[in-house]
C-alpha cells in the first residue's frame, strides 16, 4: 500500500482505477480517460494533486536563500502572490526538481514540489535554508485540488463567499492569494485556464463533491498526463532529471543568467555550456505522421544529425494523433523517424505546445 491523500476513499467510492504514482496510491481515471481530457479542454475538471508537496519557507533572508537555490530569479517576483516556475539544480547543473514558488511576503514564500522527489527536495532545501536561517515547513495539513478548463474558475468561485469569489475571479495569471482560509492560485498543468486550491485536508472531500455537483468532472492522472503533454509541459523524471540540465530540456527560459552576479547552484556548469556554443541536444515536439503511438524511450533517428529518444509520448485526444516530446541532437529539424517495435515511422518536428486554450497549434 502506498501513501494516500485525504481524497483516497472518495476516489474509491467514485470507482477510480488506482495506480502507484511516486509511492502514492492515486486515481489514474474514473471512467474514460479521453472523456476526462475533453472535459478539461471544453468545460472543467478537477484533479487531486494533494500528493504534491507544499513547503513554506520563512525568515528575513528567505529571498536570498531562494536566489541561491533556484535557477530562475525570485527577484522577478515583485507583487505578493505572484508565482515563478523554476528548476532547482545540483552543482553539476542537473535538475533536482522543477517547482512553483509563490511570493507571499518579504519573509515568506511557498513552494510546491513534486511528490516523487519530496524527500530529496526537502533535504536539499533544508540544507541550503539553514545557512540563511530560513525555516522550512512541510504543509502536510493541506490538500490540493487543481480545477482546470475554460469554465473552471467560474465553478470554483461559486464555492467561495461573494467577496472572495470576486477576488478569485480577479486573480492575474500565475498569481495566488489567501481567500476564506484557502490559498487559491491561477496556475495549472493543462494548458487551460483554471486554478489550484490549497485547502485544509478535512475540507477536500466536501469541496470535490460540490465541484462535481456543479458539473466539474473528476479527472485522473491519465488525463493530467495527456493534457500536460499537449500543452508541451515537462514532467520531472521524463523530460529532465539529475543527469540532464535545463538547457537541453526546453527550460532555458526558466534560467535567469541576469544579473551576472547571482550565484545560484548549478550556474557555473550552465555558463560553461553556453560558452561552448550551447547544449548538444534539445527538447522538441514530435507529431507522428504514420499510424501508431509514440512512447517514452523509443529511439529517434534524425537524418544527418544523429540519434535521440522520446521522453514522453501519447495519443493526443485533441489532435487525434500521436504526439511526443523528444530529446534530439541540436541540429535536428524537419522530419525524423521513430523506431516503434522495429518499424521506422515518420514524425514531424514541431515547437511545443501542441494545444493551448482548447485550440490546436499544430497545422
Amino acid at each position: 500500500m502506498g501513501r494516500r491523500t485525504p481524497l483516497f476513499e472518495l476516489h474509491q467510492e467514485l470507482d477510480a482505477r488506482i495506480v502507484d504514482f511516486g509511492g502514492w496510491d492515486m486515481p489514474v481515471q474514473y471512467g474514460s480517460q479521453i472523456a476526462e481530457h475533453h472535459a478539461v479542454r471544453r468545460a472543467a475538471g478537477v484533479f487531486d494533486v494533494s500528493h504534491m508537496c507544499v513547503v513554506d519557507l520563512e525568515g528575513p533572508r528567505v529571498r536570498a536563500c531562494l536566489a541561491q537555490l533556484l535557477a530562475n530569479d525570485v527577484a522577478r517576483l515583485k507583487t505578493p502572490g505572484k508565482a515563478l516556475y523554476s528548476c532547482m539544480l545540483n552543482e553539476r547543473g542537473g535538475v533536482i526538481d522543477d517547482l512553483i514558488v509563490y511570493f507571499l511576503s518579504d519573509s515568506s514564500f511557498r513552494a510546491v514540489v513534486n511528490a516523487g522527489t519530496r524527500d530529496k527536495d526537502l533535504a536539499w532545501i533544508r540544507r541550503h535554508a539553514a545557512a540563511f536561517g530560513v525555516e522550512v515547513t512541510e504543509r502536510a495539513d493541506l490538500a490540493m485540488l487543481a480545477v482546470q478548463g475554460p469554465e473552471a474558475r467560474d465553478k470554483a468561485a461559486q464555492l467561495l463567499a461573494p467577496g472572495d469569489a470576486a477576488a478569485a475571479l480577479a486573480l492575474g495569471v500565475f498569481v495566488g492569494r489567501e481567500l476564506g482560509g484557502w490559498f487559491v492560485a491561477r496556475t495549472g498543468y493543462t494548458g487551460e485556464d483554471g486554478c489550484e486550491i490549497m485547502l485544509p485536508a478535512e475540507d477536500a472531500v466536501a469541496v470535490w463533491r460540490r465541484l462535481n455537483a456543479l458539473g466539474v468532472a473528476s479527472c485522473g492522472l491519465g488525463a493530467r498526463d495527456t493534457l500536460r503533454l499537449e500543452a508541451g509541459m515537462n514532467l520531472y523524471g521524463h523530460e529532465m532529471d539529475e543527469s540532464t540540465d535545463p538547457l537541453e530540456s526546453g527550460l532555458a527560459w526558466t534560467v535567469a543568467f541576469e544579473p551576472p552576479g547571482r550565484e545560484f547552484v548549478g550556474r557555473a556548469p550552465l555558463e560553461a555550456i553556453r560558452a561552448a556554443g550551447g547544449p548538444a541536444r534539445k527538447l522538441v515536439g514530435l507529431v507522428l505522421e504514420d499510424r501508431g503511438v509514440l512512447r517514452g524511450h523509443q529511439k529517434v533517428l534524425a537524418a544527418g544529425a544523429g540519434g535521440g529518444e522520446v521522453t514522453s509520448g501519447t495519443f493526443s485526444p485533441t489532435l487525434e494523433r500521436s504526439i511526443a516530446l523528444a530529446r534530439v541532437p541540436a541540429a535536428t529539424a524537419g522530419r525524423v523517424q521513430v523506431d516503434i517495435r522495429g518499424k521506422l515511422l515518420n514524425a514531424r518536428v514541431v515547437k511545443p505546445p501542441f494545444v493551448r486554450f482548447g485550440k490546436s497549434l499544430v497545422t
Binding site: R17, V28, Q29, S32, Q33, I34, G222, T226, R291, G292, V293, R295, T314, F315, P317, S322, R341
Partner: protein, 132 residues
C-alpha cells in the same frame, strides 16, 4: 462480475476464442482486458497468411496509457485481421466480443485440442484471483 459469454473459450492472458462454422477461430480481447486498458487509440492486427506459434505476440492494442501485446492462443495460420479497427480502435472497447474482434486463424492440426483454453467459469476464477 465481468461480461463473459458462455459460448467462448478464454486464456489466462485475457484473449477470447470463438470457433466458427468453417473450423477457423476468431480471437479478441475480453471485456475485462479492454476495461483494464482503457480507451484504445491504436490497434495493429496481423496480416492474412502469417503463421503463428502458440503464445506468440501477434497483435498490439494501445490505449492512451500503454501498448499491450495480444498473444496467439494457439498455433495456426492467420486468415484475416480486423482492418476496420485501424480507423475505429474504440470498437474494441464498445464491442469486445463482436465487431471488436482482432483476428481469425485456421488452427494447425491438433492445435485446438492442445491449447489450454478456459471455460467462462474458469476464466472468471482467474479474474477473481487477480482481484478483478
Amino acid at each position: 462480475m465481468s461480461n463473459l459469454p458462455a459460448d467462448l473459450k478464454y486464456t489466462k492472458s485475457h484473449e477470447w476464442i470463438r470457433t466458427l462454422a468453417d473450423g477457423t477461430v476468431e480471437i479478441g480481447i475480453t471485456d475485462h482486458a479492454q476495461h483494464a486498458l482503457g480507451d484504445l487509440v491504436f490497434v495493429e492486427v496481423p496480416e492474412a497468411g502469417r503463421s503463428v506459434k502458440a503464445d506468440e505476440p501477434c497483435a498490439v492494442v494501445e490505449s492512451v496509457k500503454a501498448a499491450s501485446d495480444v498473444y496467439a492462443p494457439l498455433a495456426g495460420e492467420i486468415t484475416a485481421g480486423n482492418d476496420t479497427l485501424a480507423d475505429a480502435p474504440e470498437t474494441v472497447n464498445s464491442d469486445p466480443y463482436g465487431a471488436g474482434w482482432l483476428m481469425r486463424m485456421r488452427p494447425a492440426a491438433g492445435a485446438l485440442a492442445a491449447a489450454e483454453l478456459l471455460s467462462a467459469a474458469d476464466y472468471q476464477k482467474v479474474l477473481d484471483a487477480e482481484g478483478g
